[in-house]
């Protein structure tokens, strides 16, 4: 094999490794992309939001939606299903959650916003999203959300749905429960 072939081989091998790592780089790139475009209504974690309180704007309807994913037996419901808010002004809402099983469990709620282009105008100062929620058997809690809509939100958006899906993330190896299925 001559030298130029060796050189070609070298840069091709580099390209292969480069692309492999690029595929992993797509993960953070995608998150940035989502935040910029509001793709999937994915909401970033609460940020420095006090700056967003501006002049109070128009009315907006916010709908709170909840869903229990997979095998999640908890009660999980918005305290209010619909709320009228003003843009540029903080609002508070809560979700009621209760562990009605007979074992301690941990959960995580994943937020999502529809329509997705409303996402970039929504800032949350306080949010239970992505955090682990631990509840003992029978325990209940009110989870707060404090949020604000930017006054720049386009006029076409009058109704925003704020959705939370709650997942069971209990580590069942740690919780000592006789764990057997029906086999």
């Amino acid at each position: 094999m001559n030298n130029s072939a060796k050189k070609t081989l070298k840069y091709l091998s580099l390209a292969v490794f480069g692309m492999f790592f690029f595929s992993f780089a797509l993960v953070p790139l995608y998150d940035v992309f989502c935040e910029v475009t509001g793709l999937n209504g994915k909401i970033s974690q609460s940020e420095e939001a006090s700056a967003y309180e501006s002049q109070i704007g128009r009315d907006l309807t916010v709908q709170f939606v909840s869903h229990n994913a997979e095998q999640m037996p908890w009660v999980f419901k918005p305290s209010e299903r619909i709320m009228k808010v003003k843009t540029g002004k903080y609002s508070n809402a809560t979700f009621y959650v209760k562990n009605n099983t007979n074992k301690p469990m941990t959960a995580r709620a994943i937020p999502s916003v529809a329509p997705s282009n409303a996402n970039e105008y929504l800032k949350k100062l306080e949010c239970f999203c992505f955090e682990e929620q631990f509840l003992n058997p029978g325990e209940e809690a009110l989870l707060p959300v404090r949020f604000i809509f930017d006054s720049d939100i386009p006029d076409s958006i009058n109704n925003v749905a704020l959705s939370y899906t709650i997942f069971d993330i209990t580590n069942y190896d740690e919780v000592e429960i006789a764990h057997h299925d029906m086999r």
């Binding site: 094999m1 072939a5 480069g18 492999f20 595929s23 993960v27 793709l39 995580r108």
Partner: protein, 527 residues
């Protein structure tokens, strides 16, 4: 094929070894090309048998032959085997045989790597097929393996599937590296890039695409593996991941992959049409530019596979426009082929029949592709049989017909024998009728509303499904004839001249038929 080549080995200072070890240890590009082609044909038959199971179940409404769970395994394996086991290795086989002979090189640049990249393939597919016998069955999540169906909800065999995909990927990557190093460094003196035969050009571009995207596929399955076994949450919403991310990564690989399966077909078709029209190919340089633009555009259109996942308007518009743009270079290619035929001096040998069918039927697949690009209409087409009809039109009478055309066109060069013209025409017409009867009605079934990947369907789809199944069995049966014709040609037949075809152009036609075990040990001069 061995018998023929061995009969000539005395002419050369060292020929192939004897027996099975010749094939295991070979580093000869012609041997490895043959191995690839036979392997891909075996996979074509296995994947085809699975297609027959699918079509038999769909012959009538109701569940008759298999259970829905097994049906899903069949459609998954059918897709994976046809894409990674049949079409791609067939093109690599053709590249092995033809690229060195076309550029006047004695062999591939990295012969031992070449041997390795072939011999890991049977293991990859052995592992994949063995998953059929595992507890919980084979992968059942479609060849696109969307998370979380392929992660949290997958059968245990998914780990073997991942391993198998890694091996396939490694094989493709090594194969492409070999092709690029060969083309970039081993061309005969005087053969500039813009003098290269189009098949070589098409493979050069394909190989670059493979190097760009196969590692991404490897990354995607690695992330799956980590989600399944190491508790990460790339694609798991519960852990803060995103199932849609999987689709973006998959299609970032998947769309170039689609062109990987069609670009070499463009090269083959160009050669065959110019030979049998006895007229130089029209618009050589625009053909090259068209392929390059298709390859580049393929990186910015991936999300047209995902119009219904809920993307913002701007993204939907961008991907719609970018996708529509691909029609321009593709159109240029078709126009160039037609212009090559115009005022030519045409004869209709079997390779030409397949090439003409390729142009017509691939164009029909292109039209349905254009329709699918229109986002609002895609909301209705997406994941219906219309899509199934579309991609089978570009893959079966597209890629597969071009491979068959290539086999008929070059087999006299490979074996020294002419194929049976009468039987091969019969094979062509049976395949042509079979493929259209199978897939054309699927356009209608899809438009009328039958979703894809359904083991059972509503009654209004019954008639055309029955027709489609009849066509599928005709097409399947005619491939047994293909096997027979190839075997017959390998074993004997009318002797071929070195030039073989009256209008053939290119270095491969300057060597004897069959091509000696070693060709172009001293490079030819290209004017």
């Amino acid at each position: 094929m061995s018998a023929v080549i061995e009969s000539h080995h005395d002419d050369h200072h060292h020929g192939p070894a004897k027996g099975i070890m010749r094939w295991v240890l070979t580093t000869n590009h012609k041997d490895i090309g043959s191995l690839y082609l036979w392997f891909s044909f075996a996979m074509f038959l296995i994947g085809g048998a699975m297609a027959m199971v699918i079509r038999a179940e769909l012959f009538q409404p109701g569940m008759q032959i298999v259970e829905p769970a097994f049906y899903n395994q069949m459609l998954t394996l059918h897709g994976l085997i046809m894409v990674f086991g049949a079409v791609m290795p067939a093109f690599v086989g053709l590249a092995n045989w033809l690229v060195p002979m076309m550029i006047g090189a004695p062999d591939m640049a990295l012969p031992r790597l070449n041997n390795l990249s072939f011999w890991i393939l049977p293991f990859a597919f052995g592992i994949l097929l063995s998953s059929l016998f595992m507890e919980g069955g084979a992968p059942n999540f479609g060849w696109t393996f969307y998370a979380p169906l392929s992660t949290t909800y997958a059968p245990p065999s998914v780990t073997f599937f991942i391993f198998s995909v890694h091996i396939m990927g490694a094989s493709s990557i090594m194969g492409s590296i070999n092709v690029i190093v060969t083309i970039m460094n081993m061309r005969a003196p005087g053969m500039d890039l813009m003098k290269m035969p189009l098949f070589v050009w098409s493979w050069l571009i394909t190989a670059y695409l493979l190097i760009a995207v196969m590692p991404v596929l490897a990354g995607a399955v690695t992330m799956m593996l980590m989600d399944i076994h190491f508790g990460t949450s790339f694609f798991n919403a519960a852990g803060g991941g995103d199932p849609v991310l999987f689709q973006h990564i998959f299609w970032f690989f998947g769309h170039p992959e689609v062109y990987i399966m069609i670009l070499p077909a463009f090269g083959i078709t160009s050669h065959i049409i110019e030979t049998f029209a006895r007229k130089q190919l029209f618009g050589y340089s625009s053909m090259v530019w068209a392929m390059l633009s298709i390859a580049i555009l393929s990186f910015v259109v991936w999300a047209h596979h995902m119009f219904t996942v809920g993307m913002p308007l701007a993204a939907e518009l961008f991907f719609m426009w970018a996708t529509m743009l691909i029609a321009v270079p593709t159109g240029v290619k078709v126009f160039n082929w037609v212009a090559t035929m115009f005022r030519g001096s045409i004869t209709y040998e079997t390779p030409m029949l397949f090439a003409i069918a390729f142009v017509v039927l691939f164009t029909i697949g292109g039209f349905s592709g254009l329709m699918l690009a229109i986002t609002p209409a895609d909301f209705q087409y997406h994941d219906t049989y219309f899509v199934v009809a579309h991609f089978h039109y570009v893959l079966v009478p597209g890629s597969v017909f071009s491979i068959m055309a290539a086999v008929y066109y070059w087999i006299p060069k490979w074996t020294g024998n002419m194929y049976d013209e009468r039987l091969s025409r019969l094979h062509f017409w049976l395949s042509f009728v079979g493929v259209n009867v199978t897939f054309f009605p699927q356009h209608w079934i899809g438009l009328a509303g039958m979703p894809r990947r359904y083991p059972d369907y509503a009654l209004q789809f019954a008639d055309w499904n029955m027709v489609s199944t009849a066509g599928a069995f005709l097409f399947g049966a005619s491939q047994v004839l293909f096997l027979f014709i190839v075997l017959k040609t390998v074993l004997g037949g009318k002797k071929a001249t070195p030039e073989v075809w009256e209008g053939a152009r290119g270095l491969e036609w300057t060597v004897d038929s069959p091509a000696p075990y070693h060709t172009f040990s001293t490079p030819p001069k290209v004017s």
